[in-house]
Each structure stands twice: as structure tokens, then as C-alpha cells.
């Protein structure tokens, strides 16, 4: 009899996922430490000014966040994403990060990298995160800073990457492709691959959570999205495999939410609002007035019970499994969780045609 077994974390994750009929468990959570950011990216869905004092005054205090970390650890959360805005803008970031590590979370940090100092990198070396994910916005000062609208940000980002690389920390570099930086996509990919890191990209930019700015105008055309997909040999098999697995599942066709949000994951905003995910932000549960346990067990299940009220082309569409259409996207884009996002529909149909997916019953894009 062995009392101790060693498992790869990803294998362990698979054993933990609740199966049909089993209890929901908040295994994975994302925590926005702030919506403020020192960059002002053209495509961003949530950023507020770095010196926005009103926004800062609404944020959870250090004490409130530590209490929240106690609660979500107690509830069974293992994977924790610290994100923003720019999470490193918080003056108490080191305190919060250290506290979260000592609770035993496996932490992923999303950051623009510009505020990573040698001191902070040393902390990450001592208490390593599961991964640090930095978004590259370009490979030249001009392009990067047309994206971030912040002079000097490119150089700071590169310095931040150097601090992480010099300590051999688990770094992932990715980009969001827009009309502004599309022409440097190949250079970004090459840069990341030269560092012997995996390069990831996303070109599907969702709308903002407020009405400050038009991010949709920075989206590349659906045909360009497909062009980029085709540069990555992993994408085709991923789409096909995902489609084949998902389309065999016996999901409830009338359910509004078909993803894992609220089943094994959750999102908390900087004001202490518990929600299904970073896009499906309303309604939400106020963790300043109630416990995480009550929010998870009492509030989120009610949202998960939401039913489709309308008939639209997505309901029976065979491509819904590879389409990014979801209630969160639709709510942000159209103000209604059930309205199809035409941009996503076009992308899904192009991908389906290119990869030979789902000819049985797809809507007309």
C-alpha cells in the first residue's frame, strides 16, 4: 500500500472534474485584482485609467481579498487566475500573491509585463506561479504603442520578459491580433519561438464591459482570422477533436449556458462581485454582503438554470461546438445573451469549411 502518489497536475485535474450528477466544485477561479491599467489598449474590454481614484476606491481592500482567498480555498478552488486590468498596479500585489501562494493555489498571472521588476521576479522565483502569461502587442515600439497608447511601454514589456526569462520562470507569451498589429504577427511568432516558448494568439476581440470605446473596429476580418488559424498546425486537429467530443455529449439543447462556467469555475471582479465568467458579468453576487459559499451554492446555480427564451439560428446549429458564440459574448456585443454575434458566426463557418467540420446541420452564416 502506498500512502503517497505523485501525479502530473494535468492528469490530476482530469480526475477532479465533476461528472454528470456529481456536485459542482469551484476548482478554477479568476480574480480581477483591479480594472485599472497603466496601458490604454485599443482593444481592451475592461481597462480603466491607472490613476482613476474613483475606480480604485471601489476595489476590494487587501484584507477583503485575503478573506476571500480563505473562503475560496476552503470551498475547493485549486487553480487561481490573477488578472486585471493590470494586477501589478496594485500596491499590495506582493502581499496578495504571497498570501495566495501560501494558501496552496496553483496561480496563473495575466500581466502586460511592463511593471515586472527584478524584485518582483525574485519573488516569483522564490514562490513560483504555475505560469506567467504576458501579452505581446507588437514587435516594434511604434506598433506596440499604437496598441497600448502608452509611450515607453514596449521597452518596459521587453524588460519584464527579460526578468522572467533570466530566472527561467514558467512564461507564456501570447498576442491578441488586431488591425493595428496584424502586420507584425509573423515577427511576434518568430520572437516567441526563438525563445523556445509556445506562441499562442487570439484574434476574437469581445466588446467592452462598459460603453467606453469601440473595440470592434479593431477586429481583423473573419477571412484573416482563418488565415492566421491556418498558420498554426495545431488548430485544425484541435477544432476537429473538440467538435467530435462536444457534439457527442448529451447536453440540454434549451440551456442558456453550455460551458463549464458556474459548474467548476467562477469569476470575481475587483469590487467583490461573483459571476459566471469575465464576460457574463450580470447578474452578479455581492461577496461584500454574502459569503462565497452562499454565492457558489445559492446564486450561481440559479444562473445556470437559465433557459433559452428565443429561437435563433444558433440553437440547432451544428457548428455551435466550435463557435465562440456564448451568452457572455452576446450580452456584451448586443445587450442580449441570445442574439447571435455575426462576426463569430462568420468565423465559425469559415473554420468549418476549411477543416471539414459539421456539414449536417449548420446555420447559414
Amino acid at each position: 500500500m502506498s500512502c503517497l502518489t505523485v501525479q502530473d497536475i494535468d492528469d490530476f485535474a482530469r480526475t477532479l472534474m465533476p461528472r454528470d450528477g456529481e456536485d459542482r466544485i469551484p476548482l478554477s477561479g479568476s480574480l480581477e485584482l483591479t480594472l485599472r491599467c497603466n496601458n490604454r489598449c485599443v482593444h481592451c474590454y475592461c481597462n480603466k485609467g491607472a490613476n482613476d481614484t474613483l475606480e480604485k476606491s471601489k476595489e476590494l481592500s487587501s484584507r477583503e481579498i485575503c478573506h476571500l482567498l480563505d473562503e475560496i480555498a476552503e470551498s475547493g478552488c485549486l487553480w487561481l487566475l490573477l488578472t486585471g486590468g493590470e494586477p501589478l498596479l496594485r500596491e499590495d500585489f506582493e502581499t496578495l500573491y504571497t498570501y495566495a501562494k501560501k494558501k496552496g493555489f496553483l496561480i496563473t498571472l495575466f500581466t502586460n509585463g511592463t511593471l515586472i521588476t527584478p524584485r518582483l521576479a525574485d519573488l516569483f522565483q522564490d514562490l513560483p506561479p504555475r505560469s506567467i502569461e504576458i501579452t505581446l502587442y507588437g514587435m516594434t515600439d511604434a506598433t506596440y504603442e499604437r496598441m497600448t497608447r502608452t509611450p515607453g511601454s514596449y521597452k518596459k514589456c521587453r524588460q519584464g520578459i527579460d526578468h522572467i526569462m533570466n530566472r527561467a520562470l514558467p512564461l507564456k507569451l501570447k498576442t491578441v491580433v488586431t488591425t493595428v498589429n496584424r502586420h507584425e504577427f509573423v515577427d511576434m511568432k518568430q520572437f516567441v519561438e526563438d525563445l523556445e516558448l509556445e506562441f499562442r494568439f487570439d484574434a476574437l476581440i469581445n466588446s467592452r464591459i462598459d460603453d467606453h470605446g469601440d473595440v470592434a473596429s479593431h477586429r481583423i476580418a473573419p477571412e484573416e482570422v482563418l488565415e492566421l488559424d491556418l498558420t498554426d498546425t495545431r488548430r485544425g486537429p484541435e477544432f476537429v477533436g473538440f467538435y467530435e467530443r462536444a457534439s457527442k455529449q448529451q447536453g440540454d439543447p434549451e440551456a442558456l449556458f453550455r460551458c463549464g462556467a458556474g459548474v467548476h469555475s467562477f469569476h470575481i471582479d475587483p469590487h467583490g462581485r461573483l459571476m459566471l465568467c469575465n464576460m457574463a458579468r450580470t447578474p452578479s453576487y455581492d461577496l461584500r454582503r454574502g459569503s462565497f459559499r452562499d454565492g457558489w451554492h445559492g446564486f450561481l446555480p440559479l444562473l445556470r438554470k437559465g433557459r433559452l427564451k428565443k429561437t435563433n439560428k444558433c440553437v440547432r446549429c451544428d457548428l455551435r461546438w466550435i463557435c465562440d458564440q456564448c451568452p457572455g459574448w452576446a450580452q456584451l456585443e448586443c445587450g442580449d445573451p441570445e442574439i447571435p454575434v455575426e462576426y463569430l458566426c462568420e468565423v465559425a463557418h469559415l473554420r468549418a469549411a476549411a477543416y471539414g467540420i459539421g456539414a449536417r446541420n449548420s446555420s447559414n452564416g
Binding site: L4, D8, F12, L106, D126
Partner: protein, 99 residues
């Protein structure tokens, strides 16, 4: 194994129970393997909680025998193996001095 030896848990591992699974999460780079999770069975989790630097391995064995209905005849060997495994990843160390 010397049954009078006392072991103490390292603070560089966090003991957690996730969905009824008892696990040890390494939080520092110099201990264990950061890409791994260490799962403890029911006896292992019980033993982990007893390794407080005050109880000897003999004490821990007696507590295991008291706490569990079906203790295998190999309990001494199992306990030794567990402590060796925990020591090898620096999750426990021999306690200093007299408690």
C-alpha cells in the same frame, strides 16, 4: 526505521483537501516538483497531520492503529515508506531537540 525519531512538516508544502482528495501542494521552487501534485490516501493524510515534531514515529503508528479499523500488517513498512517519500521531497524533516 527508528521508532523514536520525530518528524516535522515543512512549511513549503500546503496540505489541502479538494473534492475529497487530500493533496500536498509544493509552493517553493526548491522542494518537490512544481509540475506535480502529491496525493495522500486516508492513512497518509492522517499521518501527515500527526507529523508535528513532537510525536515519535512510534506514537504515530499507535495513533494509526487506534484510528483505523483495518490496519495492514505492513503498517511499519508503509509508514517507513511514506516518511522516506516525504523526506525525499523535503516535505518533512527530522525534528531538532527534545519536544
Amino acid at each position: 526505521m527508528d521508532m523514536d525519531t520525530r518528524y516535522v512538516r515543512a512549511e513549503d508544502f500546503v496540505f489541502r483537501t479538494i473534492n475529497h482528495e487530500a493533496i500536498l501542494v509544493p509552493i517553493k521552487d526548491n522542494v518537490g516538483d512544481m509540475g506535480c501534485i502529491y496525493s495522500l490516501n486516508e492513512v497518509g493524510a492522517f499521518v501527515w497531520e500527526q507529523l508535528d515534531g513532537r510525536k515519535t514515529i512510534g506514537d504515530v503508528k499507535n495513533l494509526v492503529v487506534e484510528a483505523f479499523d483495518r490496519v495492514p500488517v505492513s503498517v511499519d513498512r508503509d509508514l517507513q515508506e511514506l516518511v522516506e517519500q516525504l523526506s525525499s521531497i523535503d516535505a518533512v524533516r527530522e525534528a531538532d531537540g527534545v519536544p
